[in-house]
Amino acid sequence: MDKLAVELVEVFKLFKGPGGTDATAVNGIHLQIQDGEFFSLLGPSGCGKTTTLRMIAGFEQPSRGEIFIHGQPMAGRPPFHRSVNTVFQNYALFPHLTVAQNIAFGLEMDNLPKAQVRRRVGDMLALVRLEGKENAYPRQLSGGQQQRVALARALVKQPEVLLLDEPLGALDLKLRKEMQIELKHMQQQVGITFVFVTHDQEEALTMSDRIAVMHQGNVLQVGSPVDIYERPADAFVAGFIGESNFLAGQVAERNHQEAVVLVDNHLPIRVSLEDALVNIGHAVTLVLRPEKATLHSPGSCTEHCWAGTVEETLYLGTDTRYVVRLTDKSRIVVRNQNLHASDAQNFPPGSPVHVGVHPSALRILAAS
């Protein structure tokens, strides 16, 4: 028994661009999505997320490569013969049908008996908490309610895989947060594989079991939210997911756990190697998350320290974001938690400070 819900093997998608030139929307990607997983495709606008999803749904055919759903090859199979359902970005509810008719549509296409259709539509209305709205038309619903109808309409078919294309994109921030929790909860309840497209990194981090980060038609990294955030595979991932400082340097020494890196114009710094493949003499980039560096008044810094001056202080409530200009003129962003009410006033702009960095706080990347 194959445990993969969806598998993409070297899938390409080329579109005919203006003037007959081919534009590559998806550039030979491999994906293996486990059964029951909440899997996100994350990437900036135009990176090929929707195209990938549409190929899984069957609205586009791959130019090259193969797609399998539960081990079945999908080549040439139309959307209506695939055991996947889609929640569209702008919901695509049928405007001429009521909420109940929208939800029943997919079941009627399967020619299920009327009584069964009615029962399952009722169950779905309860699941998405829309009882009492069954006779409303989509235009009479709020954005959040429409979103839930779209979800119910797809889920009622009990698909093996549910595809969601930025399903929360049209909602305001508060509703969006609520629906994130609700959606995650629902996925655990029904146990269906979710393939979730988003360009919101925070959304992907909070909801997903695993994330594929896409950029210009390529999959740059696949991993758990912790993997992606703590061990970004390259500078793009590090920059796209959360905020990062990038420091160029060169490997001076290494053993199998640690390397000593000469960061330009600074003292050598010790870095945990983890999975990085670097050797002595290699040019590397160090990634430093702002919240993993600490600010100290000069003299009180006990770790590896860089001297500098605070240029900018931004109070963010739970933490404060500092821009520090180091003695070599490079800038570094530091975010420290406000543990005490007075913390925010500790380092006003102009203060001389030391930035403390622990070896484990740095991620080493082979320079591209």
Binding site: F80, F88, F94, K157
Partner: protein, 302 residues
């Protein structure tokens, strides 16, 4: 010494603007007058007691009543109608309705399919078909009429040579002629609506298990229904009013209402003609207005 000329030019500007405005109003009034005065006169004189259009003798409904009675009390009507087809006004009205209903049904089905094909399917030669679809709308009606006549004559001769059957012009050829020009109007109206229809709705239907046929039936057509209906009303109105194409494609005995009216006019213009025309105007207005209303309702869906 600088204030006075300024004042003067200000006053002059105001005058020019006022003249301009008045001129615009007058212009609009004239245009509307040209358009609607004749129609107004026609409607008013359809209630005139006098046999002659020039003099107003008082209000009457006699002409309408005589129409309802098949023109019986107006010897004129029957003779004039007879000049063309040997029937009275009622057979002409019946012909018109038969032609309009059948032509509308055919044109609506064919035009809708054509509109959908134009917008949703890619096929070889599509640009050519796309240009052709507008042709019946833009070419002069008389060209359409003549070419249909030539076409029918050719076909009839071919059929006679092959099978020995003699075919003649009649209601069927009128219907074919009306279908030929109405298809384009229906297709254009349907297509305009389809352009606004997000194809993602059709994708959603397929995603939920509907094949192409069910998608068309359950999603595309219901959403197009207002446009189809308004296209059908348009086709019906065009067919009911059509003179030129009908003139060329109708044989003996296939007199429609417009042909009948034309036949009457050749002898003399009586208020009975005014009454018929007023009724036709009213019918057309009702049809066009309801077609607009249906289209406006459709906006709620989009």
């Amino acid at each position: 010494m600088t204030a006075a000329p300024q004042l003067w030019s200000l006053r002059r500007d105001r005058w020019i603007r006022r003249i301009g405005q008045n001129w615009l109003v007058a212009h609009a009034a004239l245009a509307f007058g040209f358009l609607y005065l004749p129609i107004l006169v026609l409607v008013v004189y359809s209630f005139n007691q006098s046999r002659f259009n020039a003099v107003w003798k008082g209000f009457t409904l006699d002409w309408y009543i005589s129409l309802l009675q098949g023109g019986g009390s107006l010897g004129l009507l029957q003779r004039e109608g007879g000049g063309l087809s040997g029937g009275g006004i009622m057979p002409a009205l019946q012909n018109s309705l038969v032609v309009a209903v059948v032509a509308t049904l055919l044109a609506t089905v064919l035009g809708t399919l054509l509109g959908i094909a134009m917008e949703r399917f890619r096929f070889p030669g599509r640009p050519a078909v796309e240009a052709l679809i507008y042709l019946p709308i833009i070419i002069p009606e008389i060209t359409m009429g003549v070419s249909l006549l030539v076409f029918f004559t050719l076909v009839f001769r071919l059929v006679e040579n092959l099978t020995g059957w003699r075919l003649n012009l009649g209601l069927p050829t009128v219907i074919i002629g009306h279908v030929a020009f109405s298809i384009s109007f229906v297709a254009v109206v349907v297509r305009a609506r389809l352009v606004d229809l997000d194809p993602v709705l059709e994708e959603a239907a397929m995603d939920l298990g509907a094949n192409e046929w069910k998608t068309l039936w359950r999603v595309t057509l219901p959403l197009l229904w207002p446009a189809i209906f308004s296209g059908a009303l348009l086709a019906f109105t065009l067919s009911l009013d059509d003179f030129v194409v009908t003139f060329f494609t109708s044989g003996v005995g296939a007199t429609t209402l417009p042909l009948f009216v034309y036949g009457m006019i050749k002898f003399s213009v009586t208020p009975a003609i005014n009454a018929i025309s007023t009724l036709m105007l009213a019918a057309s207005l009702v049809l066009v207005l309801s077609s607009l209303a249906v289209d406006r309702d459709a906006v709620r869906f989009g």
